[in-house]
Amino acid sequence: MLKINNITMRFGGVVAVNNFTAEINKNEIIGLIGPNGAGKTTVFNMVTGVYKPTEGDIIFSPSEGESHSVVDLRPDQIAKIGICRTFQNIRLFKQLSVMDNVFIGNHLRLKSSLLSSVFRLPNYAKEEKEIYEKSKYLLEKVGLYEERNEKAHSLPYGKQRRLEIARALATDPTLLLLDEPAAGMNPQETQELMEFIKKIKDEFNLTIFLIEHHMEVVMGICDRIYVLDHGAHIADGSPKDIQNNPKVIEAYLGVD
């Protein structure tokens, strides 16, 4: 579904990602791990169009017979073809309500024109109603419907993370990128998050690509894992293989 072919990202003299290749199949949960500064988020930024890779190509095929080269698209176009993400340092629309945050996630699928939206013509009214119902459903799914009128920044940390996922789901993605979804969560919350990720994967027929430092999350839910160190791909395979891979242990712990 997503093919990352030999992408390299240079910032001036710094090579953030060096010749990284990965392949993600439909309905997989793929982990991307590595020590701090390994270039994991840079990979995400390239997949979502924030950066254009210096070299290499990224091919996204949401369904059979449909395939897009992602590298020449803008972030909003990438969201439209079905790749959506969350952010490492939560980026909600802070001053807006929880409901509005999810509502905005639906905007890219809006068909009504500006004028029919302003004058609330029947086609927009119908769409708006559908969006509210969908947003309500998503908020109930993440357990935030009660707080729908709160401002996003007033939510506690864990709920903000869940709201970010709900907002991403509102864009109807087929590939969901989660950048450290469990960051700052306690073991209990982490456990809930893992269940939640599996649940949404099945329900929304998603493919999930996630960066995570919590090893219990990565080992617990990922089908396969890619490991980056200093921008270079050092290993990939099933959680078990990774746990026993000497190169990975070396990258994380160093050698004598």
Binding site: T48, V50, R74, P75, D76, A79, K80, C84, R85, F87, R91, L92, F93, K94, Q95, L96, D100, F103, I104, G105, N106, H107, L108, R109, L110, S112, L114, S117, V118, F119, R120, Y124, A125, E127, E128, I131, R167, A168, A170, T171
Partner: protein, 360 residues
């Protein structure tokens, strides 16, 4: 939006218009003039609030778009004789000289012209953000002014335009006087600016509550997140900027008619500053706030006129200091910014101030 709400809004709009009509007959000419200005500044304040307060585009080019609207309306409504008299340095382009349209067409044309320029200017400069955008729009607004000064045969250059026909309610008042013997005196017809203000409020409100308006706010809150959620930043910024420019043009046109005389110095940066004052005082992204602060600023601008004149302090008489009232506004603006910080409504500011005193 529910049906019930819609009826409620329609009713309040109609009520507002009735109030305007009544005020038009009971107030004296001076007060009507100020009220008329209030309505115009509501339109202008809301147009900048859409751009700056809701979409987060720090534009300092408002006076430029107002100038385009004002000149369009002036040129389209002035009679041929007035034009011949006014353009004495260099005759006007014959086509424009004979051009005369009904007022409502002129105002719409003014708005559309401003929107067109908003679009043309917005398309390249909206790639910029924050301070860079502010400087670029400020530059364009000055360019518009300089171009107006130099297009002698179209805009009459630095001489400005005089004798823009005012909209009075003389016909109605004469009719009422004849019919009922009421002895009313004719004045400016408040309905033009009043209805425009009501329509602008309704339009901006409906826009902001719609999906597009929410997308504008998303851009203001976090551009990176907004584009990752599939919002085409460029398209939405240009949309907001163009709509804002449209209303700036309409407001500028109404201002031209209410003043009767316009010249390029009117559209200097200080005019933009006045509108920014309204937006910041009323609260960024706050429609009600903008309405209230537009009225307060307009009325205060008149009420504080005594400050510009020689002041009698009891023990001494100061010399006339033209511009002193603007100092007061600067202080108000600073106080507003310091006290409000991230809170965006007048109400909460008042509550905060009240709380401060209540504690002591």
């Amino acid at each position: 939006m529910e049906k019930k709400n819609l009826t409620k809004y329609l009713l309040s709009m109609i009520l507002a218009i009735i109030v305007i009509v009544v005020l038009n007959f009971v107030l004296d000419n001076y007060k009507i003039r100020i009220l008329n200005l209030c309505f115009i500044y509501i339109v202008l304040g809301l147009s900048l609030n859409l751009i700056y307060g809701f979409t987060g585009l720090f534009s300092l080019g408002h006076a430029g778009f107002m100038a385009i609207g004002a000149y369009t309306v002036a040129i389209l409504t002035m009679t041929q004789e007035t034009k011949q008299m006014t353009y004495y340095m260099e005759p006007m382009v014959p086509f424009l000289e004979s051009l005369n349209t009904p007022f409502i067409v002129a105002v719409l044309a003014g708005g559309l012209m401003a929107a067109l320029f908003g679009f043309l200017i917005g398309a390249p400069v909206l790639k910029l953000t924050d301070d860079y955008l502010a400087i670029a729009t400020l530059g364009f607004s000055e360019i518009i002014r300089i171009v107006i000064i130099n297009m002698q045969s179209i805009t009459n250059g630095a001489l400005g335009l005089k004798g823009i026909p005012q909209k009075t309610n003389k016909a109605i008042v004469d009719f009422m006087n004849d019919a009922f013997g009421l002895g009313l005196r004719p004045s400016i017809n408040l309905l033009w600016a009043g209805v425009t203000a009501v329509i602008t409020i309704a339009f901006i409100y409906l826009l902001i509550e719609s999906s597009y308006g929410k997308a504008f706010k998303a851009i203001r809150e976090d551009e990176i997140a907004a584009r990752s959620m599939g919002i085409n930043l460029f398209k939405h910024k240009v949309l907001s900027f163009t709509i804002g420019s449209f209303f700036a043009g309409v407001g500028g046109g109404l201002l031209a008619v209410s003043l009767g005389t316009i010249d390029p110095t009117l559209f200097k940066f200080s005019l933009t500053w006045n509108i920014i004052l309204i937006v910041v005082l009323g609260g960024m992204g706050n429609i009600k706030g903008s309405i209230v602060s537009a009225c307060i600023v307009t009325i205060a601008m008149e009420a504080l006129r005594f400050l510009d004149e020689p002041l009698n302090l009891g023990f001494m008489v100061t010399e006339a200091m033209p511009g002193l009232r603007m100092v007061v506004f600067s202080i108000i603006l600073m106080a507003a910014v310091i006290y409000k910080k991230d809170d965006s409504s007048i109400k909460s500011t008042l509550e905060k101030v009240r709380g401060r005193y209540a504690k002591n």
